[in-house]
C-alpha cells in the first residue's frame, strides 16, 4: 500500500494548488457582482473593527462612567459618548466594538464545527447509502424536529453558559442542515462518470468521498456557509438576549439588547445601536451569499 499512502498526498497537493488558483479567480470575479462587493465591504468592516477593537474603542467596555448618557453627551472626565451609555454607565460604542469580537470569534468557529460534522456525515450518507444513510438521516431528522431555540436552551441550561457550549449547541443545531445539503449534492455527483472511473481504478471510499466528490461540491457549500454564518450570528445574538450567551460583563450584542430593553422606550439608543450592529453584519453576509450564488451559477 505504499502507493496508497504516497499518492493521495500528492494528488491532494495538486488539488490544493488548483483550488487556491480557483479561489483567487473566484475573488476576482466577485468584483463583477456589486451586491457581493457591498456585502464583502460590510463583513470586512466588522472584521477590522473586531481585530482593532482596543485601538478603536474610546473607553473600556466594562467601565461604568455615566449611566443613561445620551448620544453626543460627555462624561464627567470629558469623555464623549458618541452612541451614549447604557443603564450602568458603560459606553455603547465601545461595547459594540468589543462585542464584534465575541460574534466574530464564536460564529465562524461554530459554523466551521457544524460544517466538519455535516460534511463528513453528508458524504457518508450520500456515498454509502443503505443503512448508513438511513441512520444518519433519522438522527438528523430527530435533531431538526426540535425548534433550534429549544435545543439551544436545553443544551445551555444543562451544561451552563460558556463559549464552548455555545459552539456545541450551534454545531448540533446546524449540523443536520449541512448534512442534508452535502448528501443531496453527493447523490448527484456520485453518478458522474469520474466517480465510476475512480472506482474502477480501485480508489478507496475515503479518497473518492474527499478527493473526488467533495471538491466538486465546494461552490454551493461556500454560499451556504455564508448564509449559515448569518444565521449563527443571529443565533448567538438570540442566546445572548435570552441570557444564555457569554456570562456578563462580557460585551455581547444580544446581551446588550436584552439588558437594556426595559429602557428602550425612554433611551432607545441603548437598544437600537446593538440591533443595527447585528442586522448590518447579517445583511452583509446575506449580500455576500447572494453575490456568490450568481458567481457559482455562472461557473
Amino acid at each position: 500500500m505504499t502507493t496508497g499512502i504516497d499518492a493521495p498526498e500528492r494528488s491532494a497537493l495538486g488539488g490544493e494548488e488548483s483550488r487556491v488558483a480557483g479561489f483567487i479567480s473566484g475573488v476576482g470575479r466577485l468584483r463583477e457582482s456589486p451586491i457581493a462587493m457591498i456585502g464583502l465591504a460590510i463583513v470586512l468592516f466588522w472584521v477590522l473593527v473586531a481585530i482593532f477593537a482596543p485601538l478603536l474603542a474610546p473607553m473600556s467596555p466594562t467601565a461604568t462612567i455615566r449611566p443613561m448618557a445620551l448620544p453626543g453627551t460627555r462624561g464627567p472626565g470629558g469623555q464623549l459618548f458618541l452612541l451614549g451609555a447604557d443603564h450602568l454607565g458603560r459606553d455603547v460604542l465601545s461595547r459594540i466594538i468589543y462585542g464584534a469580537r465575541t460574534v466574530l470569534i464564536y460564529a465562524p468557529i461554530a459554523t466551521a464545527c457544524a460544517y466538519v460534522v455535516g460534511v463528513v456525515a453528508g458524504l457518508l450518507a450520500g456515498y454509502r447509502q443503505g443503512w448508513v444513510d438511513d441512520l444518519l438521516a433519522r438522527i438528523g431528522d430527530l435533531i431538526l424536529a426540535f425548534p433550534a431555540l429549544v435545543l439551544y436552551i436545553v443544551i445551555i441550561a444543562k451544561f451552563g453558559s460558556s463559549g464552548l457550549n455555545i459552539i456545541l449547541a450551534v454545531t448540533l443545531a446546524s449540523g443536520p442542515g449541512v448534512m442534508r445539503i452535502v448528501r443531496g449534492m453527493v447523490l448527484d455527483i456520485r453518478n458522474r462518470a469520474f466517480v465510476a472511473a475512480a472506482q474502477v481504478r480501485g480508489e478507496s471510499a475515503w479518497h473518492i468521498m474527499f478527493a473526488e466528490i467533495l471538491p466538486n461540491a465546494t461552490g454551493p457549500l461556500i454560499v451556504d456557509a455564508c448564509l449559515r454564518l448569518g444565521y449563527v450570528t443571529i443565533a448567538i445574538g438570540t442566546l445572548g438576549f435570552l441570557g444564555l450567551g457569554l456570562p456578563p460583563p462580557n460585551p455581547d450584542w444580544g446581551g446588550m439588547i436584552s439588558e437594556t430593553r426595559q429602557f428602550a422606550m425612554i433611551f432607545p439608543h441603548m437598544v437600537v445601536f446593538p440591533c443595527l450592529a447585528v442586522s448590518s453584519l447579517v445583511l452583509g453576509l446575506n449580500f455576500l451569499a447572494d453575490g456568490l450564488t450568481d458567481i457559482v451559477k455562472r461557473a
Binding site: D6, A7, R10, S11, G14, V200, R201, G202, E203, P215
Partner: protein, 707 residues
C-alpha cells in the same frame, strides 16, 4: 444574393415563403462580441425542404431562432433581414409576431419534454394552439387535434389526448409536439435537431412521418441537423454552414455525390457507413475544431482546417458563394473548387485487416442481471405482493477473443450499459458467470478486485463532460492512474509517462497543466482514453465513446481507438447504438433487445442476410449519408416496451414486421445456428426461411426497391 430553390429551372419561379437576406447575428457575452451568423442568404419556396448541416457552434440554431425572430436578449442582428411571405420580421409588432409564430411558421425543438407543458394535458395544449392561431371553436379544435394525432401516427388517440406529457415516451412526445406545430396550419416548419435524443428506430419513424406530412400538407421545411444521413432522407436541398457562413448549398444529390467545398467533403468522410468497414474505407477526421473567433479573419473561415489551403488565395478578402452548376443552383464558397475538382478523393489508404486471433479472453455464460423495483404503494409496505424486477440482462452468453473488437448493439434500455457495469464490478450479476483469466467477475465487486485485475480491465465512458473530475488538472488525473497502477513512481518518470500517453492520444503535452473545462469535448474524450490505456490494460470497454461528440471529432476518436487497439493489442468491447460505427470497428457483433441477445456473429455475418428481423429493422433505420444508396425501408411500429413489463415470448414480437403468429407471443424463440459459421439468430422463423432474406442495402446507384 437571393436564390430560388427550385429543382426545375424551367418552371415559373414562385415567390419565396421565407427569404433570409444577408443576415448577420452576433452575441455579446463576457468575452466580447461573438459573431454567430455571418451574411447568410437563403430562400425557401412554399412546400420545399431545406436541410441545414454543420458541426455544433456553426450557427445553425442561431439561424433558426433569427428566422423565428426569437433571438436571445444578448443577440443582435447586425445586418440583413428575414422576410416571411415578403414582410420583414423585424418590423412586425409583437402581436403580428405572435400570429406568425405558430400560425405562419412553427418550430420543433430538440427536447420534446421541454416543449410541452408538464402540467397540462396533451388535449388542452393542442386545442390551445389551434384555437389561438386559427380562431376556430374548441369543439372543432378538439376534433382536429384527434385527427392530427392520428396523422402523426400515434396509436390510441383518446388515451394520449387525456395524458400528461410525462406519461408519453420521448418518441410520442415529439410526435405530439409536431402535431401541435401542424395544428396552427403553418406554411413553414422549422425543425432543430428534432430526433437527436431519440432511439434510432424511433428516429427513423419520426423522420418518415416528417417526410409524409410535408408531402401531404405542403408545408415548407427547414431541417437543422448535424446528421447528414437524416438530411439526405428528408430534404430537397442542403445548406452546409461553417463558422456562421453558408459554405455550400445545393440540391441534395449533387452536394452528397460531388461536394464542391472541402468542409462538406470532410464531413462526409467522417461518417462510418453501415455498408462499409475499416478495411474498405478509412475514416478521415477533419483536423482541429470549430474556432470561436471574436473577429473574423479575412478569407475562408475553414482555411485553418482545410487540406487544400493555399496561402495568398484562401486567406484574402471576402470569398463569394459561386455557382458551380448553374442548372441546379449548386453554390460553393471555396475559391479553389474548380482545382479540387471532386473534393471527395478516392480512399487511397486501405487500413490493414486486424488479424483474427483465436484465444478466448472473456466468456460470458447465462448472465442475468435483475433489478428489484422499489414499490411505492401501501401494499408494498406490508410486503403483500412479491417484489417485481426489471430484467436488464437475461441469459447473456458470448465469448470475446483476445485482440478483437466485440460490439454490443441495441437501442437505449436494451441493457448494454448494465452489462458493462456488471463487467466492471460496479454492479453484481444475479446469476451466471463472466470468466476472465480464470476469475469469475460476475459477482466480484470492484472493491474486492485486486490491482492486477483492475489494471487489465478499464473503461471509457460516454459523456466526456462527466468523465474527468473538473477540480483537477489533466496531468494530475492521468498521473494518479499511473501511480495507482504502479506504472511509475518517481516524479520524473510519472511526468514522462503522462507525456507518452498524451502523445499516444495525439494531444499536446502542454495540456497536462490544463483543467477539464478548458478542453473541448473531443480532447476530454482523448484524455479519458489516455487514462483508460494508462495501466496498459488487456481489455478496454468503450461505452458509447463518441455518441455525444460532433461528427468530425467522432471520426478522430474512432480512428484513435482503432489505432490504439492495433498498436497495444488491446481487446475492445464497444457498446454502441450506431450501426455504422459498429460495422466500421467491430470484428464480432452482439445485437441486444430488452436485455436479451437477438443475434450474434462476425460483423460480416450480422450485416449481411440472413438477419434477425430486429437487426433488419435497425439496419433499415440507420441514417445513411448517401442519397444514392438504395435500401428497403422497414419502419417499426410503436415504441420500445418497458423493461419492467417485457412482452412474453419473443420480446420483439410487439414491433416485429415478420411476426409469425401466436407462437411469437407465448414461446421463447430458439437460438438457431446459421449455416454461415458462428452466426446465431434467436427467432421462431426457421433458419432456412431466414436464409432467403434479401440484402437490405442495394448497390449504390442501383435500382430502388423500396417497399
Amino acid at each position: 444574393m437571393s436564390l430560388v430553390l427550385d429543382r426545375e429551372p424551367t418552371r415559373t419561379i414562385p415567390a419565396p415563403l421565407i427569404a433570409v437576406e444577408d443576415l448577420s447575428v452576433t452575441y455579446s457575452g463576457r468575452h466580447g462580441v461573438v459573431p454567430a451568423v455571418a451574411r447568410v442568404s437563403l430562400a425557401l419556396a412554399p412546400g420545399q425542404s431545406l436541410g441545414v448541416v454543420g458541426e455544433s457552434g456553426c450557427g445553425k440554431s442561431t439561424l433558426a431562432l433569427a428566422i423565428m425572430a426569437y433571438l436571445a436578449e444578448n443577440a443582435e442582428i447586425t445586418s440583413g433581414r428575414v422576410r416571411f411571405k415578403g414582410s420583414d420580421m423585424a418590423s412586425m409588432s409583437p402581436e403580428e409576431l405572435r400570429q406568425v409564430r405558430g400560425g405562419g411558421m412553427a418550430m420543433v425543438f430538440q427536447e420534446p419534454g421541454a416543449a410541452l407543458n408538464p402540467s397540462m394535458r396533451i388535449v388542452d395544449q393542442l386545442v390551445e394552439a389551434a384555437v389561438y392561431h386559427r380562431e376556430i371553436d374548441e369543439g372543432t379544435a378538439r376534433r382536429e387535434a384527434g385527427e392530427m394525432l392520428r396523422d402523426v401516427g400515434l396509436p390510441d388517440v383518446e388515451r394520449i389526448l387525456g395524458s400528461y406529457p410525462h406519461q408519453l415516451s420521448g418518441g410520442q412526445q415529439q410526435r405530439a409536439v409536431i402535431a401541435m406545430a401542424l395544428l396552427g396550419h403553418p406554411s413553414l416548419l422549422l425543425l432543430d435537431e428534432p430526433t437527436t435524443n431519440l432511439d434510432v428506430t424511433v428516429e427513423a419513424s419520426v423522420v418518415e412521418l416528417i417526410g409524409h406530412l410535408r408531402r401531404r400538407h405542403g408545408t415548407g421545411l427547414i431541417y437543422i441537423s448535424h446528421n447528414l444521413g437524416l438530411i439526405a432522407q428528408v430534404c430537397d436541398r442542403v445548406a452546409v454552414m461553417y463558422a456562421g457562413e453558408i459554405v455550400e448549398e445545393g440540391p441534395i444529390d449533387a452536394v452528397f455525390a460531388a461536394p464542391k467545398h472541402p468542409y462538406t467533403a470532410g464531413l462526409l468522410r467522417c461518417i462510418p457507413q453501415p455498408h462499409t468497414d475499416k478495411t474498405e474505407r478509412k475514416l478521415r477526421p477533419i483536423r482541429g475544431q470549430v474556432d470561436q473567433l471574436l473577429t473574423r479573419l479575412p478569407g475562408c473561415g475553414f482555411a485553418a482546417r482545410c487540406d487544400h489551403t493555399v496561402a495568398g488565395r484562401c486567406d484574402q478578402g471576402e470569398l463569394p458563394l459561386v455557382d458551380v452548376d448553374a442548372g441546379a443552383r449548386h453554390l460553393s464558397r471555396c475559391i479553389r473548387w474548380m482545382e479540387i475538382a471532386d473534393a471527395t478523393e478516392t480512399p487511397d489508404d486501405q487500413a490493414d485487416a486486424g488479424g483474427v486471433r483465436d484465444e478466448v479472453l472473456l466468456t460470458v455464460r447465462d448472465l442475468d442481471k435483475f433489478y428489484p423495483v422499489e414499490e411505492s404503494g401501501l401494499a408494498s409496505l406490508f410486503g403483500g405482493r412479491p417484489r417485481r424486477v426489471v430484467k436488464a440482462n437475461q441469459r447473456l452468453s458470448f465469448r470475446v477473443r483476445r485482440g478483437q473488437t466485440l460490439a454490443i448493439v441495441g437501442e437505449s434500455g436494451c441493457g448494454k450499459s448494465t452489462f458493462a457495469k456488471v463487467l466492471m464490478g460496479l454492479e453484481q450479476a444475479t446469476a451466471g458467470s463472466i470468466e476472465l483469466a480464470g476469475l469469475d467477475l460476475a459477482t466480484l465487486a470492484v472493491d474486492k478486485r485486486d490491482s492486477v485485475l483492475l489494471r487489465s480491465l478499464q473503461i471509457v465512458f460516454q459523456n466526456p463532460d462527466e468523465t474527468l473530475n473538473p477540480c483537477y488538472s489533466i496531468g494530475t488525473q492521468i498521473g494518479r492512474v499511473i501511480r495507482k497502477f504502479g506504472i511509475a513512481r518517481a516524479r520524473g518518470q510519472v511526468q514522462q509517462e503522462i507525456k507518452r500517453l498524451l502523445a499516444l492520444t495525439r494531444l499536446p503535452a502542454t495540456l497536462a497543466a490544463r483543467r477539464p473545462h478548458q478542453l473541448s469535448g473531443g480532447q476530454k474524450q482523448r484524455v479519458a482514453i489516455a487514462r483508460a490505456f494508462a495501466g496498459r490494460p488487456s481489455t478496454v470497454v468503450a461505452d458509447e465513446p463518441v455518441s455525444s461528440l460532433d461528427v468530425s471529432v467522432r471520426a478522430a476518436i474512432i480512428e484513435l481507438l482503432v489505432d490504439l487497439q492495433t498498436s497495444e493489442g488491446t481487446t475492445l468491447l464497444m457498446i454502441s447504438h450506431d450501426l455504422g460505427l459498429v460495422r466500421y470497428m467491430a470484428d464480432r457483433v452482439v445485437v441486444m433487445y430488452l436485455g436479451q441477445i437477438m443475434e450474434s456473429g462476425t460483423t460480416a455475418e450480422v450485416f449481411a442476410p440472413p438477419y434477425h428481423p430486429y437487426t433488419e429493422a435497425l439496419l433499415s433505420a440507420v441514417p445513411v449519408a448517401d442519397p444514392a444508396l438504395r435500401r428497403r425501408r422497414i419502419v417499426l411500429e410503436g415504441e420500445i416496451p418497458s423493461a419492467m413489463a417485457p412482452p412474453s415470448g419473443c420480446p420483439f414480437h410487439t414491433r416485429c414486421h415478420r411476426k409469425l403468429g401466436a407462437a411469437c407471443e407465448t414461446q421463447k424463440p430458439p437460438e438457431q445456428r446459421m449455416a454461415d459459421g458462428s452466426h446465431r439468430i434467436t427467432c421462431h422463423i426457421p433458419a432456412a426461411e431466414l436464409a432467403q432474406m434479401g440484402d437490405i442495402f442495394g448497390k449504390p446507384g442501383g435500382r430502388r426497391d423500396d417497399t
